[in-house]
Structures are given as C-alpha cells and as structure tokens.
C-alpha cells in the first residue's frame, strides 16, 4: 500500500464521495459547480488507480493490495478487497472511461446535471467495487448496485422509448442474477459459513452441485455479457440510453459478466466449467457469426454498434472457455480494447446525434465533406472495430484465434469469420454515413469537432493505437493471474 493508503478503497469511495458532493449542489442553477466537481472527482478517481499499476507486482502470485475488515459480523461477511491483473486492467479502464464520460456530457446534458453526473460517479465506484471484491456477498452487493444508476441514466436521460428499455434492462439483468444469490448462499453454507472467495476456491464440491451452481452463475453473467440468446436487452438499452450511458454500458458494464466468469465460475466450479464449456463455446460462436450478420442489416447506428458489441464479446467468452493462456489473455485484452473501441464508437455516434438528432444511417451521407477531422477519428475507430492490426481491436481477436485453434480448428475458423463480418458491418456503415456526396442540407451544415470532443476522441485514439502497437504492458500484468486461474481450472474439485 502506497504510504499506507488503502488504494482500492479510494478507487471505490472517491468517486462515490464526489457523487454525493455533486448531488449536494442541487438543482441546475449550480450546474457549473456540479460539472467541475464531477470532473475533479473523476480525475481524482483515475489518479488514485494509477499507483495500482505502478506498484503492481507482475511476478507475485495471488491477490495484491488486499484490505480486510469485518463488515456484517453475524454472516461472517467481510469488507475484503484485493486485485489481480485482470481486475487491475478493468479498474483502470473504468476510471479512465469515467473521466471521458464526464467530459463528453459537459454541455450535452442540460437538465438535472448534478443527478446525471452523480449517477456516473456512483456507477464508477460500484464497478470498481465489483472488480476488487474478494468477498462473495460484497461482490453481489456491488454487482447489483450497478443496476440502479444505469437504470436511472437510461430511464431519465434516455430517448423516447426509455421506459421500456430501462425496464427491460433492469428486469432482464435482475432476474438473471437472482439465482446468483441462491448459489452464493449455498456456497456459504457448504463452506461452513464463509463468503470469502479464497475459501470458496478451495471448497470441494460434487459435480451435480457444481453444475447447478454453474448454471446459476451462468444465467447472471451471460445476461450481462450479453451472450446469445439472452442479448436482446442490449440493443434496446443502447438505443435509448444517452451517449454517456451507452459508453459506460458497452465499455464497462458488459465486462461485469465476463469478469464474473473469470472470478467466480472458473475457480469455484472448475469441473462444471469443463463439462459445460462446449455449450458456452457454441453460444459464443453463434454470437460471432449470427450477431455479425444481424449487425450488418441494422439501420440504426447505435443498434449496429450494440450488435457489434455482442459479437465482440463472443470472443471474450470463447477465449475464457477454451482454457488456455492465449485464449484467456486474449479475452481480457479484448475486454479492454472493446472498452476503448465501443466507447469511442458510441461517442462518435453521439457527436453526430448532438448535431442531427438522428441515429439512422439513411439520414446521413457524405459527412466527410463537412467534418473531415471527425471522419478521420471515426475511420480509426471503425478500423479498430474491424480488428485491424496496429489497433487494439486486433490484439485480443488475434490471441483468441491463436488459442482456440489449439482446441479445435473449427472454433478458430468460425471465430475468424469476424475478419469478414466485422469489416463488412463496420465499413459498410462508415461508407453510408461518412463517404459519398453531401446527402442533404443538414449534413451540408454540419460543423466539425469542438475542442472538447476532440480531446475525448483524441485520448481514445491514443489508447487504441498504443494498445495496438505495444500491447506488451497490458499483457504483462496478466501472465501470473492467468496462470493462477488456469491452475484452478485444471485441478478437479470433486470430493
């Protein structure tokens, strides 16, 4: 711990505390103060996570920066935090994205500004909580708590059909995760009254119990990822959510599901994970191919990117369940990259939407003529989404393909079709929106990026290129954690 500071607690509670402060500024009369406070909170939240990377010991086995304090004594539930390489990267991504979202919503949101910004700060803190919890109950509480701010973000600042979308999002994910709690309580009893993940990792379980627990976990996490066929909440949620909501939803919230697989499913029920891996892989490949084709025919840009997200997350679940180092590292890197790229794409659509108030591809055409700088950024992110080498989008897909061929040639072949589908749906959209002659007078009157938008997209562009050209530092923190995880998966826990 740096100078004795509990860094993980700071990563969780700094954004939340600032969220409270921002809320305290009250109505929109104090919007300027609220924005400033939110920015300070987000930046501070990012700053306190940087020492985590700097002081992370890449060679150390187990969880680092641990904090342990009693929480609910009667349940033996503890406030137990700690991270490995996987959590580290996700915490950094989350805190980074929060800063971008606060800047991106700066002038766009004009009503209930304080509440809007506070929701994002709360959300950021809760998600850091999920990524650092080592106590199952604490994990569950943070996991469910993230639903509330996102529900509010979509339901209050969303589009015309926001109530349907918010409810669908809330019920879908809540119902999915109800059995998660049941499974955790079962484990609590089986482990003689412990919610500690470290205890649960050592707990022997018969196969039937493992399979039931796996299914309970799976429902919760698969909805969140989302995996085919429980994905249909995502396009609706994205379409109705405000830009910032879409960014956080795609960049971070979807990762909660994949993170759950990594943190809970694989190490706690390894035998069931092996038994059911085929099902998960099949669903992942369906996501890559089926969803790739569905993305191709979307008329709404946000829906297209939402479907693209599902397809990309298929790579993540595929990588996790082929149980080798390249697959797992590829999955985590894909999560981080997808955070950058999908966030950037939603911001790009937001830039257009703020000007034209339309997300329909057919309303655009020839944007490059009036917004050349924007077109260049959009091109970069589109190419990253299509997995072009040199951008972050390539690294994870490459590793997952390399890993899955070891398992089965056809897994790799089906996954590699994303080279074609990903390019097809992304670039066809790009062509219709950006290229061509100026389609109508609205496009003709567009103005190029403002400095604020330039900064946000510029930061993401740097991230996308840096990770694509030199992913080494990202993978470096993963090796030991991934080895540890594979070690858990390889050892049967049957009694």
């Amino acid at each position: 711990m740096l100078f004795g500071f509990p860094l993980l607690s700071l990563a969780i509670w700094v954004p939340i505390a600032f969220g409270v402060l921002v809320l305290a500024t009250g109505g929109d009369r104090n919007a300027r103060v609220a924005r400033l406070l939110a920015l300070i909170g987000a930046v501070l939240g990012l700053l306190v996570t940087l020492p985590l990377y700097a002081r992370f010991e890449t060679a150390a086995v187990g969880f680092q920066f641990q904090e342990l304090a009693p929480w609910i004594a009667s349940f033996h539930a503890n406030y137990h935090l700690g991270i490995d390489g996987v959590s580290l990267l996700l915490i950094l991504l989350n805190s980074f994205t929060t800063v971008l979202v606060v800047i991106a919503g700066w002038e766009v949101i004009q009503t209930r500004v304080a509440q809007y910004l506070a929701s994002f700060l709360f959300l950021s803190g809760f998600m850091n909580g999920v990524f650092s919890a080592l106590d199952a109950l604490l994990f569950y509480v943070f996991f469910e708590a993230t639903l509330i701010p996102m529900f509010i973000i979509i339901g209050v600042w969303g589009g015309p059909n926001r109530v349907y979308a918010a409810l669908k999002f809330f019920l879908y994910t809540l119902i999915g995760s109800l059995l998660l709690l049941v499974a955790l309580i079962y484990l609590y009893n089986a482990a003689d009254g412990s919610f500690s993940l470290l205890d649960l990792y050592r707990l022997p379980l018969p196969l039937t119990a493992q399979i039931l627990i796996f299914v309970a976990f799976f429902l919760a996490f698969a909805v969140k990822v989302p995996m085919w066929p429980v994905h249909t909440w995502l396009p609706d949620a994205h379409v109705e959510a405000p830009t910032g909501g879409s960014v956080v939803l795609a960049a971070i919230m979807l990762k909660l599901g994949a993170y759950g697989f990594i943190r809970l499913s694989l190490p706690i029920v390894p035998d069931a994970s092996h038994t059911l891996a085929g099902v998960v892989i099949a669903l992942s490949l369906v996501a890559v191919v089926y969803i790739g084709l569905v993305a191709l025919v979307q008329a709404d840009m946000k829906k297209l990117i939402a479907y693209s997200s599902i397809s990309h997350m298929g790579f993540v679940t595929l990588g996790i369940f082929i149980f080798n180092a390249q697959g797992l590292e590829g999955a985590v890197i894909q999560m981080i990259s997808h955070g950058f790229v999908s966030g950037a794409l939603f911001l790009c659509v937001g830039v257009l939407y703020d000007r034209m108030h339309s997300r329909m591809i057919s309303d655009y055409g020839g944007v490059a003529n009036t917004m050349p700088v924007f077109a260049a950024f959009f091109m970069l992110f589109a190419m990253a989404n299509a997995g072009l080498p040199g951008t972050s989008g390539f690294v994870g897909e490459f590793l997952v393909v390399m890993g899955s061929v070891r398992e089965n040639f056809w897994y790799a072949a089906a996954a590699a079709t994303t080279l074609i589908f990903g390019a097809a749906y992304t670039l066809w959209m790009y062509k219709r929106v950006i290229f061509g002659a100026v389609a109508n007078s609205h496009v003709g009157g567009l103005s190029d990026l403002e400095p604020r938008e330039f900064v946000v997209l510029g930061l993401l562009a740097v991230a996308v290129l840096a990770m694509g050209l030199w992913p080494y530092p990202f993978a470096d923190v993963l090796h030991v954690s991934v080895d540890g995880l594979l070690n858990h998966v390889m050892h049967s826990k049957l009694p």
Binding site: K168, Y172, P229, T232, W233, Y290, L293, V294, A295, L296, V297, Q298, N324, A325, Q326, E329, G330, G366, A368, N369, M379, M383, L388, P389, G390, F394, V395, F398, L399, V401, M402, G403, V405, R406, F409, A412, A413, A416, T417, L419, I420, A423, A424, L427, W428, K431, I434, F435, G436, A437, L469, W470, P471, Y472, A475, D476, H479
Partner: protein, 659 residues
C-alpha cells in the same frame, strides 16, 4: 547498419505523419517536399542496404517485443537478406517515382496533402511487410497495405463507384486474410513460434504430420498450412477467384494504380509464397494448387483485357494476368523467376500505368480509348516510354519482360507436378493474348485517327468538361521524368537474369527441393543473355508474341472495322468477356445481397420474433395475464371471498370424508 534498417521504413512514416496531421500547416509544397525527402532517404538507405547484402551480410534480429502470451513471444523484427533487400529496393524506388509523378498528376486536387500522406504511409507498411522476420509482422504489413489501399481507392470519396470499389477491395481481401490468419494460427500451434528462422528450421521435422480437419480425413499439415496461407495470397495478389476487386480498384487515382495495384502491394502474395518456400517445398499438393490457380488467372484475365475500352482497365487486367504468371512460377518451384518477374513487372507495369495516366492528364481525364488515337505526335515522351513498357510486357527479346516471362514459361514446361501441362499451355497461349491487348492499347491510343476531339471528359474526378479548345500537349517534367526513369529498368532489368535465376542469387532466402529445381535444369543450358535472346527466336513464345502484335496491328490499324465484325459474330463470347465471366454479379447476388437477406432473416426471425416476441415479451405477457387472473380473484367484494371460502370448505370436507 541496424540504424539504417530502421530508417528505411521510418522515413516514409515520418513523412506520412507530418503530411497527414500537419498538412494544413505546411501546405501543398510542404507536404510533397517532406514526403519526397522521406522517400529519397528510404531509397538511398535501401540501396546501401542492398549493396551491403550483396556483400553477403544477412541480418535477422528483433526491434521490440510486441507481446508475450502463454509460451509465445511475438516480436517486431527485421530479416534482411537478398530477398527482402531486393524487395526494399524495388518498393522504395517505384514509390519515389510515384511520389514525384503525383506532383503533376494531383496538381489540382484539393486532397493533395492527404494523398501524399497516404502513399508514404503505404510505403512504410509495404516496407515493414517485406522486412518482417516473422509471420505476425507480415500480417501487420499485410493488413496495413490493405488499409491504405482501401483509403486510396476511395480517395475521391464523393464518387459512388469509388466507395463501392474500396469496400469491395477490403472485404475480398479480408476473405483472403481469413485463410491467412488460420494458416498463421496452425503454424503457431505446431511450431510454437512465428519466427521465420525457427519455423523454417523445424519445418522438415514436422513435414510428416497430418491433421484431421474433417473427421476421418487425415491431411498433410504442410498442405493445409500452405493452402491456407495461399488463400491470403489469392486475396492480396488478386488470383482467381478472389480477383474481382483489382479491376474496380482503378477507381483510385492513377499514381496509386501504378504503385499499389500493379507494382508493389499486389505482389505481396507472390513475395509471401517465395518467402515461405521452405514450407511450400514440403507439399506438392499445395504447389500444384498454386500453379493451376496462377495459370487460370494468367489466361482468363488476359482474355478479358482484349475487350476493355477504359485504358486503365486494360492495364489492370494485364496486371492480373501477369500476377498469374508469377504465381505459376511459384507453383513450379521457380521462386526466383517469380520474384524476378515481380521486379521487372514492377518497372514496366508502373511505366504503363503512369504512361496511361500521362495520357489521361493530357486529355483532361478522358480514359476511354475509343476517344483517343493519334496521340503519338502530341505526347512523344509518353508515347516512346509507354511503347517501351508495352514491348517489355509483350516479351520481346532484349527487354526486361522477355527474360522473366520466358523463364516462367520454361519453368512450367519443365515442372513435373500435376497440372504443369495445363499451366504450360495456358501461359504459352497467354503470350499471344498479352501481345494482342498491349498493342491494341498502343494502337488505339497513340496511332490511327484522332478521335479525342469533341468528347467531354467523364473520367476522373475533376475533368474540365466540354470539348478541347486546344491541342493536347506533353505533360510536365514531374510526369515525364519518372516515365523515363522507369523506362530504363524496363529495358535493362532483365539483363541480370544469369546471376539472379541461375547463380544462387537468393542464397538461403529461397529453398528449393532438388527434385523440384527446374531453374537448375534451365541453368545448365543457360549460356548468357545474348544466347538466351537468340534462343528466344526459335521458341514458340516469341512467335506467339509477334503474332499477337501483328493481329493487333491488323485489327486496330489496318482494318479498324474488323473488331466490330468480330464482336457481332462472336456475340456470346464477347459478352462473357465483357461481363468478366459474371463474377461481379454472382458475388453481389450470393454474398452481398445474400448476407443482407440472411442477416435480415436472423434479425427479424430470430431476435425480434422468437427471442423477444415469444420469450421476453411473451413472459411479460404471461405475467400480465396471470396478474389479470389474480386480480379477478381479488375483486374486493366480501361476498366473492365468502363464496370462495364456502366452496373451499366444501372441497376440504369432501376430501376428508372420502379419505
């Protein structure tokens, strides 16, 4: 020297970044100066490296570690040997010529700085591709040149045809890359590394391995890997049936047609297979596939060139056909001949394209040869240089194309692999067709009646429109000087055939199994350049070429009415050729519209109807219906409850008494 290796790709990259990001600040002159200086530096550095490599120095080392994952280490690094040094020199020289030429060609274009940025970025990517010492970096360069090609084909992004062509090019190439990536994945799986030296070193020990792709069928590992890699080459080097993108790529400005879609990028597949010769030599099946695909491409694409009227499209189909030649050479294990033809073709094809571009500028962006003719006296430099390119292309002894092409024909003749007979017949017949379409171009453009008056330009972006008020005149020096500089190697480059093909020029860079070594057989009879030329006089190839030229002369100068007659008589064949065998329509229907139909079906049928309609909203409706039933029961009227209680008690009593 290692610093020099870095300078070669980084100088163009620096130029690209400055011209791309700060083009608005440095202006048009600044943009072309910075990129041309970068290219001069790269060319000079490549020449120094080339001379150093000729001295016998080979370098193989890493630049930085890209990623470590599992047990695999992925590095960015350089392998500088005879093969890569030759490619570096060809790429940087042609690129420099194209940079200079662009000053004239793009003079009025508003996207001037952007264009220079792109072509320098392309040169960087291509150099990284040829200098790679591992498959990962090869794939990086491979996709990066594809990206720049995409950007440049769609350079005039307001034109619907251009943005259709660039999307098509990218997607067709991605189909190839799909195979390529899987090939790389299998290599990593079996060899545990992507480093060339390590892979080639242990290739022989893995040659006997089989792999079960389909249940029950054990295939040779090397065959599977080599064919998968070749699928990538088919995309990039536009081999049948993935050739469809290259003709459409002519929508881009002419300088990039010369640089990317003739001289350099499209030869990446040829280079790749030659680089992988230690693997291909282990699979005769793969070599046969390569040879047959190449032969099909060479012949059938050449036939299409005869009926094209757009001057650039003629040269484009010619490129496809010549790429087919190179592929045949690879399949016949005459890798050196393939690379040799790659180099001579780079010069004479770049020359033909730039010559065509010069004509296009002079006629204010007119590309239709039916509206040209008699330009010889207005464009003397362009005429003579283009003629040199044409003669070289047709394979007349003494010119560069003769030596490389004749070697390939001879190699196919000597090869004993299955399919070699077909390949030999195809490439031989193609000689006639090549001479025919090339001289058709020369005669229709530069000779005969002047047909360019009174035809408005409807070619590239910004024609003047309307007729020509003044006579066409020779293009400026920035255009003609590169033509002259390219004409020189189009003549002379072939004279080094002795050492290159038969003198172990490539050394360890190319491996050929003794039983496949057709070049060694040819080398036994090789008695020098002059002897080869005199021998050429008695081979069928030369007489086929002469026959092609004479036919072109007869049909397009002597009796210009004849083509129309032939066209009417051979209506079906003509239509098939003019429609390019219908591949565009087939692919559009099958893959383009097919994917959209299928995707719509999945979306409307799967997501909307079944998942959301039945399950999600269905369960919501179920809850609603159930709630409605429950609500009906809880009506709030006391007598309803009392009635229900009485019924309940009756049921209970009945059950108790009955049991």
């Amino acid at each position: 020297m290692q610093l020099l290796y870095l300078i070669v790709p980084l100088a163009p990259l620096a130029g690209a970044i400055v011209a791309g990001l700060f083009g608005w600040a440095i202006g048009r002159r600044g943009a072309h100066w910075i990129t041309i200086v970068g290219m001069v530096v790269a060319t000079v550095a490549s020449a120094i490296v080339f001379l150093d490599v000729l001295d016998g120095n080979i370098y193989n080392g890493p630049v930085y570690t890209w990623l470590i994952s599992g047990n695999s280490r992925f590095e960015i690094g350089f392998l500088i040997d005879r093969l890569s040094a030759t490619m570096m020199l060809v790429v940087s020289f042609v690129s420099l010529m194209v940079h200079i030429y662009t000053i004239g060609y793009m003079a009025d274009d508003p996207g001037y700085q952007r264009f220079f940025s792109y072509i320098s970025l392309f040169t960087f990517s291509m150099l990284m591709l040829v200098m790679a010492n591992n498959f990962l970096q090869l794939f990086f360069g491979w996709e990066a040149v594809g990206l720049v090609s995409y950007l440049l084909i769609g350079f005039w992004y307001t034109r619907p045809t251009a943005i259709h062509a660039n999307l098509k090019a990218f997607l067709v190439n991605r189909v190839g890359d799909f195979g390529f990536l899987l090939g790389i994945a299998l290599i990593l799986m079996y060899f545990g590394t992507l480093d060339y030296a390590a892979v080639f070193g242990s290739a022989r020990t893995l040659a006997g391995n089989t792999i079960e792709i389909l249940p029950g069928g054990a295939w040779s590992l090397m065959t599977v890997i080599c064919i998968l890699l070749f699928v990538g080459a088919m995309g990039k080097s536009a081999q049948f049936p993935l050739h469809v993108w290259l003709p459409d790529s002519m929508e881009g400005p002419t300088p990039i047609s010369a640089l990317i879609h003739a001289a350099t990028m499209v030869t990446a597949g040829i280079f790749m297979v030659a680089r992988m010769s230690p693997l291909y030599e282990l699979s005769e099946t793969a070599l046969s596939v390569v040879m047959v695909i190449g032969a099909i491409t060479a012949l059938f694409m050449a036939l299409v060139a005869i009926v094209q009227n757009d001057i650039k499209r003629v040269v484009a189909y010619s490129t496809l056909s010549q790429l087919g030649y190179m592929t045949v050479a690879l399949g016949a294990s005459a890798y050196a001949a393939g690379i040799f033809h790659l180099a001579t073709h780079a010069f004479f094809k770049a020359l033909l394209f730039l010559g065509a571009g010069s004509v296009i500028i002079a006629l204010h962006h007119q590309q239709d040869m039916r509206h040209m003719g008699g330009l010889r006296k207005y464009l003397p430099v362009t005429y003579w240089t283009t003629l040199i390119g044409a003669i070289s292309s047709a394979g007349i002894p003494g010119f560069a194309g003769f030596f490389s092409k004749d070697s390939i024909i001879e190699a196919a003749h000597l090869s004993k692999l299955p399919g070699a007979g077909f390949a030999y017949a195809a490439v031989l017949l193609t000689v006639f067709v090549t001479a025919l379409y090339t001289f058709r171009l020369i005669f229709m453009t530069f000779h005969g009646t002047e047909r360019f008056r009174g035809h408005g330009a409807h070619g590239e972006a910004h024609g003047h429109g309307g007729g020509h008020a003044h006579e066409p005149h020779e293009t400026p020096a920035v255009v003609t000087v590169p033509l002259v500089l390219l004409a020189i190697p189009s003549v002379c480059a072939g004279w080094v055939i002795g050492p290159v093909l038969f003198g172990d020029y490539f050394g360890s860079a190319i491996v050929v199994a003794p039983s496949h070594d057709v070049l060694a057989q040819m080398g036994e009879h090789f008695g020098g350049v002059v002897a080869m030329m005199t021998h050429g006089l008695v081979t069928p190839a030369l007489w086929l070429a002469v026959a092609g030229i004479v036919t072109a002369w007869y049909f397009y100068l002597k009796r210009p009415d004849l083509p129309e007659v032939v066209r009417r008589k051979a209506g079906l064949i003509y239509t098939i050729l003019e429609r390019k065998y219908g591949f565009d329509e087939l692919y559009q229907w099958l893959f383009g519209d097919g994917a959209v139909r299928f995707g719509t079906g999945l979306w409307k049928g799967g997501d909307v109807a079944v998942i959301d309609g039945v399950f999600v909203n269905g369960s919501a409706r179920l809850v609603g219906w159930f709630a409605g039933v429950v609500r009906f029961l809880q009506s709030g009227f006391i007598y309803h409850y009392a009635f229900a209680m009485i019924i309940g008690i009756l049921v209970l009593l009945t059950m108790i008494f009955l049991i």
